[in-house]
Amino acid sequence: MSSEMIIQIIKEVQKAYEANASEIEKLDQAIGDGDHVINMRRGMKAILEIEEELGSLKPADALNKIGMTLLASIGGAAGPLFASMFMGMAKVPGSDDIHNSKTIAKMFSSGVELVKQRGKADVGDKTMMDVLIPVSNLFSELVETDNLSKNEMLGQLMAEAERGMLSTKDIAATKGRASYLGERAKGHIDPGAKSCQLIIFTICNYLINRGESK
């Protein structure tokens, strides 16, 4: 993993985001305040504005810089949470120089841990944590499993993200703006969970295709 690759992935995410923007916007309009897409867009734009600077940094520094950039650009609930994700990832020893899935899994787990500390939400609160926590758990598990191809692993992570995202649909929210709705939030997928699922899907897909093309 290099800083260039991080930027490449963010560009892929940005593309995927635009393709799904109106769907996600509808979700935040249904149970939030309708700004989630705008917030995320602002964050991605801010990162790509410092693309050159990021390219010159070591991965851990780039991740930190991305975290700070998101923190100062997204705002809302999503800002500190996505920022924490990147800052948490940068914390893992060895994240500067990573060649194997185990390090990446550790980084992901560290990122999710910091998000959880910041947001104080857990599985079942109808937030992005319903995607992040199960995916992180599964990831840590799978990297210890032998005889699993990289693509199989990525496929399982994508499926888990999808499951987590869908699990937010039929429950009431107990964290975030949707919690004000009580029972009325039921029936709507959480926008932050959808965002995370989309991001995970895009990254996995990118890695699968990249593996193939090599």
Partner: protein
């Protein structure tokens, strides 16, 4: 969407610039990061009061920057909490050695951003969390109540006390106290349109209203057929009184707040309805405030806020204030 804008991305910057030009006698605007501070430095050792939140609630908070109220306000994008770099830069710009008090409306986003600012800021600081919206049930298993129109009352009272020279810890204590004495609830007839979204945040039928609506157009407690002003008021006031449980003949400040799209005529009519309801409940209105102070862009609707008055709150409410949106005694 019909709005006075040039470019969706420039709304905030241009509006802040206009705000700075119109009130250059009392405040200064800083862009990138965005914050509003008093034009004059305040007294050495004075606690700095800093608030902020998503834009679209004007005059909250920028309209309350000035003598006797806030030292700085940090406006986020429309309906999106500001970012920690804004709070940090604003705190540094107005620091007088007395420490910083953050006044934060209770939303996950605002809370987390102010929390990170608090952790990263090299100045002693404390936070008052405002959660006066009784439409939302308060429970440790939820995000808890929202901060709404009662916030400006906290800002006024603590602002006056800070001006009088009390310490950071005392400011924090007073803010928490006022918050506890204050309860609000609102109702919306129409949605608002966030400029960047370009379409209404929610749909609502021509004969429906959203009871307990939030100030970002978040859905409220229930959606109902519209009712008379007296009936709506009874709903709101009774819920508020259940929460505040004022003593017989307790004195209150009654604040009828418009969300931006309701004529003043109707707000005063609501005030009249609320006064009748309070009289029935043996509550005495000693102070009043009617107008658009905590808005949701152009949303039609209003909220009612009661603040139980004690001598201290009364004194600090009456004391001089000189901001863009609230001014008396000077």
């Amino acid at each position: 969407m019909k709005k006075f804008i040039n470019n969706v991305d420039d709304v905030l910057t241009e509006s802040l610039t206009g705000f700075g030009l119109a009130h250059s006698d009392i405040l200064k605007i800083h862009l990138n990061p965005n914050f509003i501070i008093r034009a004059d430095k305040s007294k050495e050792g004075k606690v700095s009061l800093i608030s902020g939140g998503g834009s679209g609630h004007e005059p909250l908070h920028g309209g309350f920057v000035g003598y006797g109220m806030l030292d700085a306000a940090c406006p986020g994008q429309v309906f999106t909490s500001p970012t920690p770099d804004q709070m940090i830069s604003a705190s540094q710009a107005v620091d007088n050695g007395g420490g910083t008090l953050f006044i934060v409306k209770n939303y996950s986003g605002d809370l987390m951003n102010f929390e990170m600012a608090s952790e990263m800021l090299g100045i002693e600081n404390m936070t008052v969390l405002v959660n006066d919206d009784v439409a939302v049930e308060d429970s440790s298993f939820t995000t808890g109540r929202r901060g709404v129109a009662g916030t400006m009352i906290v800002e006024k009272i603590v602002g006056s006390a800070a001006e009088a020279g009390i310490s950071l810890a005392e400011c924090k204590e007073l803010g928490d106290h006022v918050n506890k004495m204050t309860a609000s609830m609102g109702v919306a007839f129409t949605s608002c349109t966030v400029p960047a979204a370009g379409k209404p945040t929610f749909e609502i039928a021509p004969d429906e209203m959203e009871i307990g609506v939030g100030i970002h157009g978040e859905p409220g407690r229930k959606r109902e057929k519209t009712k008379s002003a007296d009936e709506i008021t009874r709903d709101l006031v009774d819920t508020i009184l259940e929460d505040l449980k004022p003593d017989n003949n307790a004195e209150v400040l009654l604040h009828v707040n418009g969300f931006g799209g309701t004529p003043l005529m109707e707000l005063y009519l609501l005030f009249n309805s609320a006064a009748k309801e309070l009289e029935k409940n043996k509550v005495k209105i000693s102070r009043s405030l009617v107008g658009n102070y905590t808005t949701s862009l152009e949303m039609a609707g209003a909220s009612i806020t009661l603040c139980k008055l004690d001598d201290k709150i009364l004194h600090h409410w009456d004391s001089p204030v000189h901001t863009a949106a609230l001014r008396w005694g000077m």
